[in-house]
């Protein structure tokens, strides 16, 4: 257990000092001053370093081993990207600096937009959204503005039951009513069913491609046709774009709006939960609705245009998570076109190989080739009293991170596995061996799985108590 910074604090210590003021420091002559100091911890630089080094050692991370979280695309984060993103020419810009001072930044944003457009086949992108869910919100706002502009009142957004939770949540914020459509027995959207659900009230179909089962919607052409025929837009959650680089361009198959997660497909690190970046791309007929400002180019000079009478406005106070763009664009430039296709090919190959290795140890509800990920079920272990949680907690004892569990919701005891392209065959083989071993242990030693993990910094934690009496803030009297 690591004591908190509040417990370690001792009055008078200083971890950092700003230079002495070179001007007189008079009294603070303002009304409404703070009545009591905040009670911030006081520690020296060395002990702060040690505090965080100790905490760091308790984290699993990509630089330690495979991170097969389905839907999260935890790929390797190249070092050079981090290095270039730390250049002061990028980190030191104020968003209100004039365009002349920011030509490099604007050029980078413009090039990134162009590259994303080429990769996806969409007409144009906004880089403002700070994450995938933010992108969804932005995309749905665009759909809303589009129908407003057309004077159409459509209230429904159709969402497959396999969708990520952000999809219905984003839709709800925009005042639309999400409506679930059931997947068929192959885990896919049934065009016939869709056709029935699709009405003049339907604003959008919001689908994930490949879907969260790791399956490509075979009938996507028909699906898009049905939506368009009813005047609805098709929104694609592009979180799974890691399967499609150089293979399918959403714009080519009729997608109207999509978002991309730079912090998945384009290798920018997740940072323990963020920052991400969720650019939104649109087809030609929706370009006018994109947020402003947009980066424009004329004869090699870059500018910001706020011109956009139909624009939804701003979803970010400035230009989005600029520093993330730097890393993503570095990734694109490192790989180039054929390199990006290799990404997807290897992501898909790794997934299918791992699926082939594991399908006898765990249930596979939807067989057939998967894309970049697949979903197993641990229900075959239920007879031993073992649940998906027990399987993955045991994985932790082997020093391996868990896959995503209990998502998508349509698979009982789901184990959603995404090995990503950067993992080597050896690493995947080791993962497979351990998973097979655990399946065996479920039968021979279920108690051990219930007890797991035992080698981690802490064992299973009491979430119920945390939810009942949350302890969300370190009490003040500890100082």
């Amino acid at each position: 257990m690591t004591a908190t910074v509040f417990e370690k604090s001792k009055p008078g210590r200083r971890g950092y000092r700003i230079p002495e003021a070179d001007c007189a420091k008079g009294k603070i002559d303002l009304a409404g001053l703070r009545s009591a100091p905040p009670g911030l911890p006081e520690m020296g630089e060395q002990d702060i370093v040690r505090h965080y080094v100790e905490l760091a050692a308790k984290n699993y991370h990509v630089d330690k081993g495979i991170y097969p979280l389905g839907s999260c695309t935890m790929k390797y984060n190249p070092l050079v990207n981090e290095e270039v993103a730390r250049l002061e020419g990028f980190t030191g810009l104020h968003p209100a600096q004039n365009e002349a001072d920011c030509q490099g930044a604007l050029e980078l944003m413009w090039r990134l937009e162009r590259a994303l457009a080429e990769i996806t086949g969409m007409e144009a992108f906004t880089l403002q959204p700070a994450a995938g869910a933010h992108g969804e919100l932005t995309g749905i706002m665009i759909a809303r503005a589009y129908f407003l502009d057309r004077g159409e009142k459509r209230r429904i957004v159709l969402i497959p039951d396999s969708a990520h939770g952000t999809n219905p949540a984003s839709v709800a914020i925009c005042g639309f009513t999400p409506k679930t459509i059931q997947s068929n027995e192959r885990g896919l959207i049934d065009p016939a069913l869709l056709n029935r659900e699709m009405t003049a009230e339907t604003a959008c179909l919001m689908l994930t491609l490949p879907n969260t089962l790791g399956l490509f919607e075979r009938e996507i052409a028909e699906i898009v046709r049905i939506a368009h025929a009813k005047g609805a837009l098709v929104y694609m959650d592009g979180a799974n774009m890691n399967a499609l680089l150089g293979i399918v361009r959403p714009g080519d198959i009729g997608i109207d709006i999509m978002h991309i997660n730079l912090h998945k497909t384009f290798s920018t690190p997740h940072g323990g939960g963020g920052p991400g970046s969720g650019p939104v791309g649109v087809a030609k007929h929706l370009v006018d609705f994109l947020p402003v400002p947009r980066v424009t180019e004329r004869k090699g000079a870059f500018a910001l245009s706020t011109d956009g009478p139909k624009s939804i406005g701003r979803v970010h106070p400035y230009h989005g998570n600029f520093n993330v763009f730097v890393k993503a664009y570095a990734f694109i430039r490192s790989l180039g076109g054929p390199g990006l296709r290799e990404v997807s090919e290897n992501a898909i190959l790794n997934a299918n190989y791992l699926m082939a290795r594991l399908k006898n140890s765990y249930d596979l509800k939807y067989p057939g080739p998967c894309m970049h990920e697949f979903v197993l079920s641990a229900r075959n272990l239920k007879k031993y009293g073992i649940r998906a949680t027990d399987v993955v907690k045991r994985l932790l004892d082997y020093g391996i991170h868990a896959p995503t569990v209990y998502f998508p919701l349509i698979v009982e005891e789901a184990l959603m596995i995404e090995p990503v392209e950067t993992e080597s065959k050896e690493t995947i083989d080791r993962f497979a061996e351990v998973m097979e071993k655990i399946a065996g242990e479920a039968e021979t030693n279920p108690a051990m799985l219930h007890e797991a993990p035992v080698t981690t910094p802490v064992r299973r934690l009491d979430e119920a108590v945390a939810a009942r009496c949350p302890d969300l803030c370190c009490p003040g009297d500890l100082e």
Binding site: T4, R34, L40, G89, F90, C102, P317
Partner: protein, 451 residues
């Protein structure tokens, strides 16, 4: 440079195990005609040294404010950032990890964020902070949505003296959600017009937004305002500069229901405005309506202290369309920066940053007050930035100043035409030196020396 590690031999073995002879067989579910015809038309791949060179060139085409005498503010500030922040956030245990869903192997992130939440509570004086939002503007927008949800409808009152960027985001979110916004003007002295507020409060009002300090840098009468708002049965959403909380009464002291703000000042580089750090802290009674992740202390099977994500039933992955927000990824690494920053500065140092910013900005203000040919419309009741009115268009002055390495402020004329085309928002942080401040004065006085 490719980061794929599998070799041709590996791939062959894998295909064999899968039972296919060529990769394309796996693509069978994708109708042939939907597939890309040729390769993506992108620039040729670069080796690492090529990437470093290209990005060095792009970075070189920028003139970063951090290297200039920057008087730009308006929400993003040029401050000293301790090496500690860079050290901690560049450890791969933090930056390459995912959201701490597997708590047993994520205690590092979890405790760090728990400490972040606690630090934000201390700075703001609020009961509960979440684990971060995207940025101050979306945090404010989400607060407006949240207040509207708590109040079960009703308009939201927003001060005119709010950052135009924040206002734009707020407009965008509230429009989508169908919430009415009503603007409250500022009084002659630049702070919120309390009479107009009082009359607006007569209609059903979900919440009032307070910007503290307001966009003009001025300190609002927070206690008085809070009394008014709560007297009308509305919620008070305080959008505060966290550094100002070292000196000014924090939202917790005047009873704000929700406090939000931008945490960039807490150890984040300006980064052309992103990534940022939205913070949100609320009264305990509102916690279950709060958006975003929350980390809680708890115990493990052996009774050992540990940390977990909690109250997830508020969140989209559990509650889906009924979630308090759609937010999933947040700005965890930026929250970590803020935690390191506040710990490094500590009680004394944090106050010192605020006090120096106050002293230096007021030093410039006093110098300008004694300088002919400019006006200071709103008085000295500001924290670290103020409105300066030049007799001519600000653009010319800014250009001159830039040629001396001075970034002279944010022009206000477009967003606040009533202030004139010569109006500038001038911020002075602890990082500005005496010489820079004097140089600024000289520039305004029309005798800018070489730099």
């Amino acid at each position: 440079m490719s980061y794929i590690q599998n070799t041709d031999a590996d791939r062959k073995e894998m295909r064999e195990r899968i039972g296919i002879s060529s990769f394309d067989e796996i693509l069978e579910p994708i109708p042939e005609r939907l597939r890309c015809a040729g390769a993506l038309r992108l620039d040729e791949p670069l080796a690492e040294a090529g990437v470093a060179a290209l990005f060095g060139e792009l970075a070189g085409k920028n003139r970063p404010a951090s290297r200039a005498a920057s008087f730009l503010g308006g929400g993003i500030y040029d401050r000293h950032i301790p090496a500690l922040v860079r050290y901690v956030t560049s450890r791969s245990e933090f930056y390459t990890s995912y959201t701490p869903y597997q708590a047993e192997v994520s205690q590092g992130t979890l405790q760090a964020i728990y400490e972040y939440q606690s630090l934000i509570c201390r700075v703001t004086g609020m009961d509960v902070s979440n684990a971060s939002m995207y940025d101050g503007a979306t945090a404010l927008a989400e607060a407006a949505l949240m207040a509207n949800a708590i109040a079960k409808g009703g308009k939201v009152l927003v001060p005119r003296a709010l950052s135009p960027a924040y206002r734009a985001v707020l407009d965008c979110y509230t429009a989508a959600r169908g919430i009415a916004l009503e603007e409250i003007p500022y009084a002659k002295n630049g702070t919120l017009d309390l009479d107009r507020l009082s009359s607006a409060l007569k209609e059903k009002t979900a919440a009032v937004i307070l910007a503290q300090p307001n966009y003009f840098g001025l300190v609002e009468p927070s206690h008085e305002l809070a009394a008014l708002v709560h007297g009308a049965g509305s919620l008070l959403v305080a959008c505060v500069d966290p550094v100002s909380c070292a000196l000014l009464a924090p939202p917790g002291e005047y009873g704000a229901d929700i406090a939000v703000g931008e945490g960039q000042s807490l150890g984040l580089p300006q980064s052309y405005g992103g990534p940022l750090l939205g913070f949100m802290a609320v009264k305990t009674e509102h916690v279950r309506r709060m958006p975003g992740r929350l980390i809680s202390g708890t115990t493990d099977l052996d009774g050992k202290r540990g940390y977990v994500m909690t109250l997830q039933t508020r969140e989209q992955h559990i509650r889906r369309e009924k979630a308090t927000s759609n937010i999933c990824s947040n700005e965890a690494l930026c929250a970590l920066s803020a935690a390191v920053y506040l710990t490094a500065l500590g009680e004394q140092g944090f106050r010192e940053v605020a006090a120096q910013s106050y002293a230096k900005s007021h030093a410039l203000y006093s110098m300008l007050a004694a300088t002919k040919g400019c006006a200071l419309p709103f008085g000295a009741g500001f924290f670290q930035e103020f409105v300066l009115q030049l007799p001519t268009d600000a653009a010319g002055f800014l250009k001159d100043a830039a040629s001396k390495g001075v970034l002279g402020g944010i022009p206000l004329g477009a967003a606040f035409p009533e202030l004139g085309r010569g109006a500038l928002l001038v911020a002075v942080t602890e990082k500005r030196t005496k010489e820079e401040i004097e140089l600024y004065r000289d520039l305004v006085a029309g005798k800018g020396a070489g730099r």
